[in-house]
Every structure is written in C-alpha cells, then in structure tokens.
Amino acid sequence: MTGCVAGSKSLSDFDVLLHIADDELVIGWRDSEWTGIAPVLEEDVAFSSIAQNEIGHARALYQLLSDDADALAFDREPAEYRCSPLVELRFVPDWARTIARRVLYEAVDELRLERLKSSPDEAVAGLAAKIDREEAYHRMHAEMWRERLRDEPRFQEALDQLWPYAVAMAAPDERDELSRRFKRKIPSNSLLLGKEHGNHADGWPALWEEMTMVRRSIPGAAW
C-alpha cells in the first residue's frame, strides 16, 4: 500500500476505518453514475448530493488515516481496496436495485457509526459523530424511497437479491440487529461467501480503472 500512514492507530482500527472509507468512496462513485439521468430532476440533484457527501466522508476518513488522502484513495491496486462487494455492484439504469442498496447500506452504516461514535479515540469518535449527522439525512432519503417502493415487486426482488451482501457487509456481531430491523433471516454462510469486505464484485476492476484513470494519467502531478 502506498501513502504515508499515520502511526497512532492500531492495525485493526486502521483496517476498520479503511474498510469504511473505501465503502463510502465507492458507493459515492456508484451513486454518482446517476447524475444527469436520475428518474426526475429533483431526485437527480438530491441523489448526486448524497453521492458527493459519501465521497466527502471517505475523504475525511482517509485524512484521519494518512497524510496523503489522495494517495490512499487512488494509488492502491484494485485488490488492496477493502470495500464491500455490495457497493461495487453497478446498477444503472436499475433504480429499484439502486434504492434497495441505499436502504441496506444506510442501515449497516448506521450500526457501525454507532459503534465508532463511542470509540476511545477522540478523533475517530468526533468524526463519526459528524458523519452521522449527515447520514441522518441519507437515512431519511432512503426511508422515504423504501416506503414509496414498498409494494413494487422489482424493489422487493432487489432487496432479496442484495440482502446477503448487506449481511456480509455488517460485522458479525451487528448481523442480528440488522436481521431484526429488516425482519429477514441471516443467510447461510455459503450465501455470504465472497461477499464480505475485501472480496470484490465483477464490476470492480472496471470501476477502479475509471476511478483512478485521471490520477494515473500523470503520476505525481500536483492538481
């Protein structure tokens, strides 16, 4: 891994924060693919804004982990990213699955932010609280769409399909709570296989290519 890593965090804290930062960066990327083509103009603005917020959260987390957030965000090899396969899946132009992912993602994100907010590391706890205040709005957005699409078969199918990804994204001790919230059973281990963070979905290499393309075009440039 390139990028100067701050030495004060223990390895496991570092891994957890990097996992979250990568999730936020990549879901921000995926959701920003809707910019200009969302179902209605108002949603286009709202959805793009949420995507941008997520990338902002990623930036703040990378800054906590490294003196060079850009290097940490963009200079790793695809296999070194720690994000969850859930956020890597490409859904455009499928709005039902896009919203199903947002709903599930925000639920898992809320659980892990709760935990981070009580971290003994003040910098981590403080940042988690700040991020959570913005996520509250994302949760509201996800909830209103969930309510609106509740009786839509395509949305229910999307939730069925993505549920194992969401469970795999959650830490093992957060899964019961997730299961309770969605009134869904925890899938068998074989269904979770390959969906936990650090594994990668099929669309990941292409997304990585695109995401790092400009950065790689002139290595070391000051932008």
Binding site: L41, E42, E147
Partner: protein, 97 residues
C-alpha cells in the same frame, strides 16, 4: 405535485420565495427542498407549501385612478413647496422650527 419553496437566509429576516420543487408527497417535497435550496448553507429555514394552498390575489381595479392610494400618487415634494411658499419660508430654508 408542485411545492413552492420559501427560504430564510438568516435568523430573523423575512422568508423569500426561492423557487419550486416537483414531488409526489410531503416527505419528498421536504427532502427535495432541503437539497435544492439548503445544501450550500444558503438557508437557515425553509417553508415548503403545496402550490394549491397558496391563495392568489391579483385583481386590482382602480377605475377612477385614485392615485392618492398609491405610494407614488402623493407627491410630498410639491406639497412641501406650496406650504413653504404660503408660510413665506424660502425654498431650502432649512430650519422649519
């Protein structure tokens, strides 16, 4: 459904019309207004109102041209000049006491 959005720039100042959003219900209208007119810190509060709830009044008849009802219909300058002439105070004579 169209919702009209009014925004308040700072605490204490009047709300001004900002624009409108199309939304299927109140929850969406709130969220969209929030994004459209609040995400850059340009507002401290919004009023989001269904367009149909706005009572519009636009019929202002003034057939007899009663210009004294209008703010521009009463020229104070001319009246002052006349009053000064009657009192024998020269124009621009400053102290009216």
């Amino acid at each position: 459904m169209i919702y009209e959005v009014f925004r308040q720039e700072r605490k204490g100042v009047a709300f001004e019309h900002a624009g409108s959003v199309a939304a299927p219900d109140e929850a969406f209208a709130r969220a969209y207004a929030h994004e459209q007119y609040g995400r850059r810190g340009e507002s401290v509060a919004l009023w989001v109102v269904p367009r149909g709830s706005i009572l519009e009044v636009e019929d202002f008849v003034d057939e007899l041209n009663k210009n004294y009802h209008r703010v521009d219909g009463y020229s104070l300058k001319a009246k002052l000049k006349e009053a000064r002439e009657r009192a024998g105070v020269p124009a621009g004579g400053g102290n009216t006491r």
